[in-house]
């Protein structure tokens, strides 16, 4: 029963919204400085990447060149030669910060409702990223000093890579600690969101305390092919990583868990700015059972995620996005109880309306249907989100946001109902 309670509390914690209110990354303005371009060259509204921003990453942090019909695509080495002179200011951003006012109200069956509010420095991130001059090597380091209002310095990204080929057909290999970013995929598959949180399916912990959105250590490689004028882009990426510890933290060093997690992602962008992403994740995660007792044991269950995501941009104004993810995890509610499982069908639909280049209205609905062996059957969690984003300066480096989110549902283990309403107003600075 102890296990039941601990996992139930985990789901209730999801209900309280504590997992869901931090954007996973911000714009990296050193790139804007390097090319003297507005943020909107690479973002719809930061941090959500557009096709050009996504290609910028795939090309090892080099600006995608024109790919005109009949012309030979420049090699990555050619792109390197055209880069401006390397300077520290074009490679470092030390003031990416989010100042927020947040008010929440949480309810839970059998408990008195609670409310809280705060002004806080929600995020302070530092970035160091770019290319090694005169080479095809690239790097990115991200030091998150404040996360969710708490000072907790974490090196979320620290990787080094090499890009080869040309602008039309390129490949890359990278290694280090790399934020998974759910495939860095097309718009619907990105953890970056205009709403207060990413789609729930990326952030929701499973019964084994596994969260898909993580920053593990590993290696990854990818292939990218672009047609003339970027009318179509096809990409595939494979990552092999350490995965998560039993407490949900990333494995950064030696571990008893010798198996590795594998993640595969395939993306198809088609003009203008629409796309489809397929992703598959397979791994294992440890679960401590009877923690603290004499018969404490470790259960190592398999994790499987299969997802499909799509977006379609209408008239360069309305972005319709949808995603589905199937969860098929091993799960032992009690030690030695074989053949049991955790299953989930997660959906989301989102509509982003770009009023103009500086302003966007966004709304999203998330539905998680979760069940466990021996549990009360499928239980649902719903989340409604809405947000107004506006760039307060033309470069897009200062963004104001008003957001609302309401999450309600029951956990799949003990059927404890909970809800969480969140109001947030924040200003994001990217310098």
């Amino acid at each position: 029963m102890r296990q039941y309670w601990s996992r139930s509390l985990m789901f209730v914690a999801l209900g309280s919204g504590i997992f869901t209110l931090t954007p996973k990354a911000e714009a990296m303005p050193m790139y804007s400085r390097r090319y003297n371009l507005k943020c909107s060259a690479c973002h719809t509204i930061a941090p959500q990447l557009n096709q050009m921003g996504w290609m910028f990453k795939r090309l090892g942090y080099h600006l995608p060149p024109a790919l005109m019909k009949g012309q030979q695509a420049p090699s990555i080495s050619d792109l390197v030669k055209k880069e401006p002179q390397w300077t520290v200011t074009d490679n470092v951003s030390v003031a990416v910060a989010d100042f927020a006012f947040m008010a929440t109200r949480n309810t839970q069956d059998g408990a008195a409702p609670t409310s809280s509010s705060a002004f806080q420095v929600n995020i302070w991130n530092n970035y160091f990223g770019g290319w090694v001059p005169d080479t095809n090597f690239f790097y990115l380091a991200e030091l998150d000093i404040i996360t969710n209002g708490s000072i907790n310095p974490t090196l979320t990204n620290a990787y080094f890579g090499y890009t080869g080929g040309n602008a039309k057909t390129s490949w890359y290999l990278a290694g280090g600690r790399e934020h998974l970013q759910i495939g860095e995929g097309t718009r619907a598959a990105q953890v970056y969101s205009l709403n207060l949180s990413s789609p729930l399916m990326f952030e929701s912990p499973s019964a084994n305390n596994f969260v898909l959105d993580q920053s593990p250590v590993g290696i990854d490689g990818g292939l990218t092919w672009a047609s003339d004028n970027y009318k179509n882009i096809l990409a595939a990426t494979v990552k092999v990583t350490n995965g998560d510890n039993a407490d949900g933290s990333e494995i950064l060093g030696l571990s008893d868990k010798n198996s590795k997690d594998v993640w595969f992602d395939a993306d198809w962008w088609f003009a203008p700015e629409s796309g489809i992403t397929f992703l598959d994740y397979y791994g294992k995660v440890d679960t401590i059972q009877n923690a603290g007792a004499a018969n404490q044991s470790t259960y190592r269950g398999a994790i499987r995620r299969v997802g499909a995501f799509a977006n379609y941009l209408i008239a360069n104004k309305v972005d319709v996005m949808a995603g589905y993810m199937l969860t098929k995890d091993d799960y032992q509610p009690l030690p030695g109880m074989t053949g049991s499982y955790f299953r989930a069908n997660d959906y989301y639909g989102e509509l982003n309306y770009y009023v103009n280049q500086l302003t966007a209205l966004s709304g999203r609905y998330d539905l998680l249907e979760q069940r466990v062996t021996g549990g009360p059957g499928a239980q649902s969690m719903h989340q409604w989100s809405a947000a107004l984003n506006r760039s307060l300066v033309r470069s897009g480096t200062v963004i104001g946001r008003l957001g609302y989110s309401y999450l309600t549902g029951r956990d799949p283990i003990l059927q404890i109902g909970s809800s969480s309403a969140t109001y947030e107003a924040d200003v994001l600075f990217n310098f």
Partner: protein
Amino acid sequence: MPKPNARIKIFAGLFLIPFVWIGWAAALRGQSGDQAVIASEDRDKPCPAQAYNQDIAELKLSTSEMAPEVQAGYHMFREKCGLCHSLNQHPTKSESSAQDWTHMVNRMEAMPSSHMTDADAASIAKFVIWEGDYSNDMVKTLMAFDVNHDGKLTRSEVPERMQPIFDRADKNKDGVVTPDEIKKLAEAEGASVVVSRGDCDPEHRLK
């Protein structure tokens, strides 16, 4: 006494009012900046290479001296190119001829996220060619007499006092003077410094 839930909503609402107000104030300031034409003496000043040029109140050109198709190109430039560039970041000085400008716009069309059709690119090219030519003070002065907005000057459109300049500019003696011919005359005679906002851009931008 309001319930806790209501208190949160009231408090959040009160907090959001100044926030919304600040946002709109910033928005309105941006719009008024649009309407401001930067004084010519300021435009001649060199821009620091790493400044956030794009945050300077965006240049807005007077459309009264533009032919309708150039006006359409100007609005298209703001809509399409404005995603990444402002007129403060005028494309580089390497482009000079109409062919160069057209090629550059076509290259931009071929970039991801350009959202340009061939027709959009053609329209934008008309504007940037016009803008490139008209960035010269002498060209601007003379082309102001292009009453039929055909992009060329005939002798009858030019006042008598300026006809000697017309004659010197009309190198091929076809009785018609184009902005390019005026620009060449200005450069040859040093009558006017070529004003190029592209000089603000570091050497490697947008090559």
